[in-house]
Structures are given as structure tokens and as C-alpha cells.
């Protein structure tokens, strides 16, 4: 794990350096980006090699304050959740190079970069923490640093209020986590995570529910989602991208981790998660439909996607509890895949929203319109992101949802409550998909298409170069994962390797299905190209014909 800690040190340097050289505004940004990108590249390399060559999970432990130990462990679950952290964070900083362009606020910008680096490091530490004090410490640093990122624009009253709300929810959630840790300590008498499996059944249930509430307030599970639609619009857009794309996934990571540590496949856990997922998903998208503020809408859509991920986890847990191997594999892999995909397309969408806000200063989509002609690159990337988040093939969002559907269908032979819940999960996924389509056609249609409905929208210009570059690369990733999903799903299968699932399911049978999906996606793209080509040829022929008739 030495490379991992080295990468974190480099990232932290990238955060500290701007504080000293903030007077050279452009140099500060470039230096920060270079260091963070180098650190993240190193971290990503280390993580991927840990994921692709699974062996004994690497562990490190240092004594701290004489009574505690700081111990870290990188198993496949940690490694998988580290990928979005190391992938999205440097892109967000690249985006910010053109987004943060107020040299008169150089110290404030430098502070923002500092806390951004602290957030990246603390998220990485959360994903690797291996005992209670380490986890609690990393979790708190993560919450506090993201609080400072949210209140970047502290002179604005609404921003301060949003930051306050976020702080309450972060600390309230942490309170539930500490309660869960207290229950654990009461039974095990030490701080190690490994002993959680020895708890008695009732204690396990209490720990799981407390932790679920605590992690849920970070992830944005309904009704603990209230801070999201305030904090995301208040934060600068590249921060919203990281918070919504990556940080709230730490809540999901916590739920997966506590489930893995408790090690009991009880059906009750899966039912709690599944029901919470269905409620969160459907209500999230329903609330999103009613919002006019682009960033508020995206925040609610994050709630919806957390719901989809929870449905995936719930399906996987049901599979484990009922000994259905295919269901367990596809449910968990689908949830992991959706974590990865959502980090990509949600940060893309937040960056698109940021570009609109930056150029037009308008938040309400009702006053926008016609932007695709004035911001062609932003508009096209945003369109791709919307297609991906609506879960439509051939884009990345479909792959995660397909895995979850596939897992749910495998659970249809179950009986009683499990069967009803599985069928309900399929229906909720279908409804969520349909409503997400409605929601994002509204955003794209009103903001980017048609005619501008305000002076700000009419005078918009294309976003800066690094902003375009980031959005285009994320959009390409959405299409790539949608057309060639197999290597990415393999990664998700590796990621769930250290969860104790039911044996007897060969992921290769599923990879075959994925190959067919990429063939179908390719076939569809070919068909679209062919029909468009025919359409163009035809209109040329008709045009020439009409021209001849007109002159003749």
C-alpha cells in the first residue's frame, strides 16, 4: 500500500501548495492540477493493479495516541470504490481551471483547492479504513472538508444556510454511526472491524439499522436526502460534481462494508435496503420532475440514482439470503456498476449545469433555451449525459440497470415476500426509467433546444477549453461503457470478489450476455448511420430533382 499512501501525500501537497502561491493565480491552479492529477494517476494505477491481481488484501497499521491504532486495508471493495475517487476528482480540478476565474478571490480559491485535496484524501482513507477510530476520523474529515467546500460563496446568505443544513445532516448521520460503533464496542470490547461477525443476531440488526441511517444521511436516502437539493446548488459546480458523483457513494460504500462485516445473510436486511431503495428511487425522480433549478433537479436525480443502487444492493442481498447465486452476483455487480457509471454521468451533468450557470448566470431552465446552438460542445455532452442517466442504451447507465434487472429476474422464482419485493423492484426500475426519461427530456428540451427565453440565454457563449475537454471526455466514457461494457463489468465482478456471496455462479456466462449487448448496441448504431446516410442521399436527390424541375 506504499504507492497508495505516496499518492495521497502527493494529492495533499497539491492542496497545500496553492495556499502559499495563491498570488500567482494561474500558476497556482496549474500546480494544483498537476500534483493532484499525478497523485490520482498513481493511486488509480495502484488501485487497478490491486483489483486486477487479487491476492491477500494489503494491510497497514500505525499506533496513534498510544491507545488507538490507525489501520488500513485495501480489499477488492475498497479498490473498486477508489476508482471513481481517483478518476473524477482530477477531472473536476481540470474543469475548475476555467471555472474558477476570479483572481481577486485568489486566497479563497486556494482554500477551495486545499479542502478539495483534503476531501479526496479523506474519501480515499474512508474507503480503506479498517477499524473504528480510523473510519470515524476519515469520515469526519470528509464531512468537514466538504462543508467548507459547500460554503465557498460564504457571503451569500442562502449558501450559508445550505452549508448549515449540510453540516447538521452530516453530523446527525455521524451520530448514528457512533451509536452503531458503541453497540459494536459493547459486544466486542475492541475497535477492530473484523470482530463484527461475532455479534449476536439482535445486536447485528441494531447495528445495521443505525449504520444504515447514518450512511443513508450521507448517501441521500429518502427522507434523509433533504440536504442534497440545498448543498449541491450552493457549492461551485466542480464541487457539486465531486460531491454528487463520488462523495455520496461513500455512504453506499459504508452500507456495503457494514453488510460485509456483519456477515449474516438475513432476509430482513435485504428487505430494508430494497424497500428504502424503491422509495428513494421513485420519490427522488418525482421530486426531480417538479424542479426548475437545474442543479436542484440534478441533486434530486442523485437521490433517484442512490435508490437504483440500493435496489441493486437489496437484490444482491436477497440473492445471498435465499441462496440464489445469479441474483446475488448480478444485483451486487449492478449496484457497483451503477456507482461507477453514476460518478461519470452525474459529474458530467453537474459540469454542464455549471457551464450554463457560468455563462448565463441563470439557474431556472424556464429562462434558458436554444443553448445547443450557442454552446454546441456543452449541449452535446449534456445530451449524452442525459441519455446515460435515463438508462437508455447504448449509453453507460443502461449497463448498470440491465445488471440489476437481470439479477431481479433471476429472483422471480422465489416465494412469498421475496417474490413480491423482487417483482416490485422490477416495476420500480421501469417506472424510474420512464420518469427519468421524462425529467431529462425536459431539461435538455427546455434548456438547450428551442428558442432562448431570456437575454442571458440569448447571449451565452461556449464554455472555456478545459471545461469542454472534461465534459467531452466524460461523454465519450459514457458511450464507450455503453457500447463495450464487458471490461468494465469484469471490473465490477472483481470488485465484489471479497463479498461473501453464494458460490456456483460463473460470471463468464454473464459476460456472454454483455457481448451480445455490445453487438446489439453496435447493430443499432450501424442502423442509425445507415438510415441517416440514406436520408441524406435521398434529400440530395430530391433537392436536385426539384432544382431541375424549377429551372426546366
Amino acid at each position: 500500500m506504499n504507492a497508495f499512501f505516496l499518492s495521497l501525500a502527493v494529492i495533499l501537497c497539491g492542496g497545500v501548495l496553492p495556499l502559499f502561491i495563491h498570488r500567482q493565480f494561474n500558476m497556482m491552479k496549474a500546480a494544483c492540477f498537476a500534483l493532484v492529477a499525478a497523485g490520482c494517476a498513481l493511486g488509480l494505477f495502484d488501485t487497478l493493479s490491486a483489483l486486477l491481481h487479487p491476492g491477500v488484501a494489503a494491510t497497514v497499521s500505525w499506533p496513534w495516541l498510544h491507545i488507538f491504532a490507525l489501520s488500513f486495508k485495501m480489499d477488492s471493495i475498497s479498490a473498486f470504490f477508489l476508482i471513481p475517487i481517483f478518476l473524477i476528482s482530477p477531472l473536476a480540478i481540470l474543469y475548475s481551471l476555467h471555472y474558477m476565474e476570479k483572481p481577486e478571490h485568489s486566497l479563497r480559491t486556494a482554500t477551495n483547492y486545499f479542502f478539495n485535496a483534503v476531501l479526496i484524501v479523506s474519501m480515499a482513507l474512508v474507503a480503506c479504513a479498517d477499524n473504528i477510530p480510523t473510519f470515524a476520523l476519515a469520515w469526519e474529515i470528509m464531512s468537514v472538508s466538504s462543508y467548507f467546500l459547500v460554503v465557498y460563496d460564504f457571503q451569500d446568505k442562502d449558501t450559508r444556510k445550505a452549508g448549515y443544513l449540510y453540516f447538521i445532516f452530516a453530523q446527525g448521520g455521524a451520530m448514528f454511526l457512533f451509536a452503531a460503533f458503541a453497540v459494536i464496542y459493547r459486544y466486542t470490547g475492541n475497535f477492530a472491524f473484523i470482530d463484527l461477525a461475532t455479534l449476536p443476531e439482535t445486536a447485528k440488526l441494531i447495528v445495521f439499522i443505525l449504520a444504515f441511517i447514518g450512511f443513508g444521511s450521507k448517501a441521500g436516502i429518502f427522507p434523509l436526502h433533504i440536504w442534497l437539493p440545498y448543498a449541491h446548488p450552493a457549492a461551485p459546480s466542480h464541487i457539486s460534481a465531486v460531491m454528487s458523483g463520488v462523495m455520496i457513494k461513500m455512504g453506499i460504500y459504508g452500507i456495503v462494508r457494514i453488510y460485509e462485516l456483519l456477515g449474516t445473510p438475513s432476509l430482513l436486511f435485504s428487505q430494508i435496503v430494497l424497500v428504502a431503495g424503491m422509495i428513494t428511487g421513485v420519490l427522488g425522480v418525482v421530486y426531480a420532475l417538479g424542479k426548475q433549478d437545474v442543479k436542484k433537479l440534478l441533486a434530486y436525480s442523485s437521490v433517484e440514482n442512490i435508490g437504483i443502487i440500493l435496489i441493486g444492493l437489496g437484490i444482491g442481498m436477497t440473492g445471498v439470503a435465499t441462496n440464489t447465486a445469479a441474483m446475488a452476483f448480478c444485483g451486487f455487480a449492478g449496484a457497483f456498476m451503477h456507482v461507477f457509471n453514476h460518478s461519470i454521468f452525474k459529474s458530467l451533468l453537474f459540469m454542464g449545469a455549471g457551464a450554463i450557470l457560468h455563462k448565463t448566470k441563470i439557474r431556472s431552465i424556464e429562462q434558458l433555451g436554444g443553448l445547443i446552438k450557442r454552446m454546441p460542445i456543452t449541449g452535446r455532452s449534456f445530451l449524452v449525459g442525459s441519455l446515460a442517466i435515463s438508462g437508455l442504451p447504448p449509453f453507460s447507465g443502461f449497463i448498470g440497470e440491465f445488471l440489476i434487472y437481470y439479477g431481479s429476474f433471476q429472483g422471480l422464482h422465489l416465494t412469498r415476500a421475496s417474490f413480491i419485493l423482487t417483482a416490485m423492484a422490477i416495476v420500480s426500475l421501469a417506472v424510474i426509467g420512464g420518469l427519468a426519461t421524462a425529467c431529462f427530456t425536459k431539461v435538455v428540451g427546455l434548456a438547450f433546444l428551442g428558442e432562448p427565453r431570456s437575454a442571458g440565454a440569448a447571449q451565452a457563449t461556449e464554455a472555456g477549453f478545459t471545461m469542454q475537454l472534461t465534459m467531452v471526455s466524460l461523454a465519450c466514457a459514457c458511450l464507450l461503457i455503453g457500447v463495450l461494457p464487458a471490461p468494465f463489468v469484469r471490473l465490477a465482478f472483481k470488485g465484489i470478489g471479497d463479498l461473501q456471496l453464494v458460490g456456483g455462479y460463473a460470471p463468464d456466462t454473464f459476460i456472454e450476455v454483455l457481448d451480445n449487448i455490445s453487438k446489439a448496441a453496435g447493430l443499432f448504431l450501424l442502423l442509425v448511420l445507415a438510415i441517416s446516410a440514406l436520408r441524406t442521399l435521398l434529400s440530395h436527390a430530391v433537392y436536385r430533382h426539384l432544382l431541375c424541375r424549377f429551372h426546366g
Binding site: L392, Y406, A520, F524
Partner: protein, 306 residues
């Protein structure tokens, strides 16, 4: 080879069958009606024209018709007509196909919003709402079929050994509910009476028609073709439910299959003739009724399928 011929035949037959509805409606109204080949003439006429684009539109407006037509063609490529194996098929294809239809809808809605016309926006909102409800019904049907056959592809439902069979008690009796529900979904997804009136004259009351008002020439032709193919797909789906049998002779199969498809088109025509369209607020109830029917059928399988 047989599959490709069957697919091409379906492509060619779809416009003819769409004219059957018009003919039936005309007959019930005591008129002679247009010739049976009217839809081919319409397509040929539209393809020979040029397109007109308003200054408000962007590339999305031109992409909409192409994608909605392609998604309908894709579905037909995976569907086994008359028991002939489809051109392509794999386990799980139904999910991607219904989502591709969703993609077609996504672009139709965007193309409508691209015209900057408030009428089209209204139609788009209705279409998005109603088709979401219909999607729920469709996925419950898929869940029910998976429970009955353990398969996730059209080829698995309608060909092979574990075929969906209406005439096979006791599970078959549940399929009666599915047939009724799928007929309701057919009416919804293809904008027929009582959900939407394809022949209405006022933009305020339209759903699908208002979304394509600004399309012209080949663009409109592609949209129309896509609509015929989609209608044909849903009718073929119900046909295979009603008549799951397989004869030795390919031609006999084909004749019976297309005969029943024709009957379904006639049923659509009769429905349109004897019913008025619902007021807007009754439409969701209509679609949710189909959902209730299939969900009920799915719950009943808990006792029947062990």
C-alpha cells in the same frame, strides 16, 4: 435465410396492415374508405418531397425521426414472426429492446421540444407521462413471462419448447389477462383511441400527432414508418399469445399468423369506431388498469407456478 425473408416480409406488410384500420373505420361509418395501399402511396409521396426546417431547430430535430424508426426496426429484428426464428436473439434481449423503444421516445420528445412550439411541448409531456405508465405494465408482463418460461427473449417466449401457451391450463388462463392488458398497451403506445385520436383536428387535444406537426417530407415518412412497425410489433406480440402453435408447413404458419394479426388490426379499427377518446385525466386510469390486470396475474402465479 428464412428469418431474413420473414423480417423483410414483416417490414413490407406493416404499412398495408395499418391501412386495414382505416378501411374498417370507413366500413363501420358506411363509407368506402381509401384503397388498401394508401400507406405505401403516402410513404412514396413523402419520400419524394423535400423537408422544411424552422430556424429554431437543431440537429436533434433531424435525428429524432431516424432514431425512432431505427428503434422500431431493431425490435422487429429480434421478434419471431409466425414461429420463424428471429434474425438475432439472445438471453435478455427484451430489456434492451424495450429500452431502445424508450430511446426512440426520448428523441421524439426532444425533437418536439426542439421546435420551440408550446403545443408540441404539451404533447411531449403527455407522451412522457403515459408511456411511463405503459412501461410499468410491460415490465410486469416480462416478469410474468420469466416466471412461466424462465426466458428473457422474444425467441424464448414464442419459439422452442417452453413456449408461452394460452391454451395450456392452468397458467395459460392468466394469459387472458395479459392479452387484454397488452391490447390496452398497444392502444396507448401507438396513440390510438381511446387514449389518443390520430384523426383529431385540434392541437390541444392531441398527444402523439402534435409532436410531429413540424416534421415534413422524408422525416415524416420515417416517423410514419416507425409507427407502422411499432404497431405491427405489438399486434404480433398479442398474436403469438393467442396462437402459440406451430405447424410443419412454413406457409400455413405464415397465413394463420398474418390472419390473426389482421384480426387484431380489425379489433383496433372497431374499438376506434365505437369509442370516443377519454378525457385526459381518465387516460392514466385506463393505463393503470392494464397494470393492475397483469400485476394481479403475476401474483396469481404464486399459487400456480411452483
Amino acid at each position: 435465410m428464412e428469418s431474413i425473408v420473414s423480417f423483410c416480409f414483416a417490414l413490407l406488410a406493416a404499412p398495408l396492415l395499418a391501412a386495414v384500420i382505416m378501411k374498417v373505420k370507413a366500413y363501420v361509418a358506411g363509407k368506402q374508405g381509401p384503397p388498401l395501399f394508401i400507406k405505401y402511396y403516402t410513404l412514396a409521396k413523402l419520400f419524394r418531397k423535400g423537408s422544411v426546417y424552422s430556424n429554431s431547430t437543431s440537429f436533434v430535430f433531424k435525428l429524432g425521426p431516424v432514431i425512432s424508426c431505427c428503434s422500431a426496426i431493431m425490435v422487429l429484428l429480434f421478434f419471431p414472426f409466425a414461429g420463424v426464428a428471429p434474425v438475432f436473439s439472445f438471453h435478455g434481449d427484451v430489456i434492451i429492446l424495450f429500452y431502445l423503444l424508450g430511446l426512440g421516445r426520448f428523441f421524439t420528445i426532444l425533437a418536439a421540444l426542439d421546435t420551440a412550439s408550446p403545443f408540441e411541448g404539451m404533447g411531449a409531456a403527455r407522451e412522457a407521462y403515459f408511456s411511463t405508465l405503459a412501461e410499468a405494465t410491460i415490465f410486469v408482463v416480462l416478469a410474468l413471462f420469466f416466471r412461466l418460461t424462465g426466458s428473457l427473449s422474444f425467441a424464448g417466449y414464442f419459439t422452442g419448447t417452453a413456449v408461452i401457451n394460452l391454451w395450456n391450463p392452468p397458467a395459460g388462463s392468466l394469459l387472458l389477462l395479459v392479452v387484454v392488458a397488452m391490447f390496452m398497451v398497444l392502444l396507448t403506445e401507438n396513440s390510438r383511441v381511446p387514449v389518443d385520436d390520430p384523426a383529431t383536428h385540434l392541437e390541444l387535444t392531441m398527444i402523439h400527432e402534435v409532436m410531429i406537426l413540424d416534421h415534413s417530407g422524408p422525416d415524416l415518412a420515417l416517423i410514419e414508418l416507425g409507427a407502422y412497425l411499432k404497431l405491427f410489433f405489438y399486434s404480433a406480440f398479442i398474436t403469438r399469445l393467442l396462437y402459440p402453435f406451430q405447424l410443419e408447413n412454413v406457409y400455413q404458419n405464415g397465413i394463420i399468423f398474418y390472419g390473426i394479426v389482421c384480426l387484431i388490426y380489425v379489433a383496433v379499427g372497431i374499438t376506434e369506431s365505437i369509442m370516443a377518446r377519454y378525457r385526459m385525466h381518465l387516460v392514466p386510469k385506463f393505463i393503470l388498469t392494464s397494470f393492475a390486470l397483469v400485476f394481479f396475474a403475476t401474483i396469481l402465479t404464486m399459487e400456480i407456478v411452483r
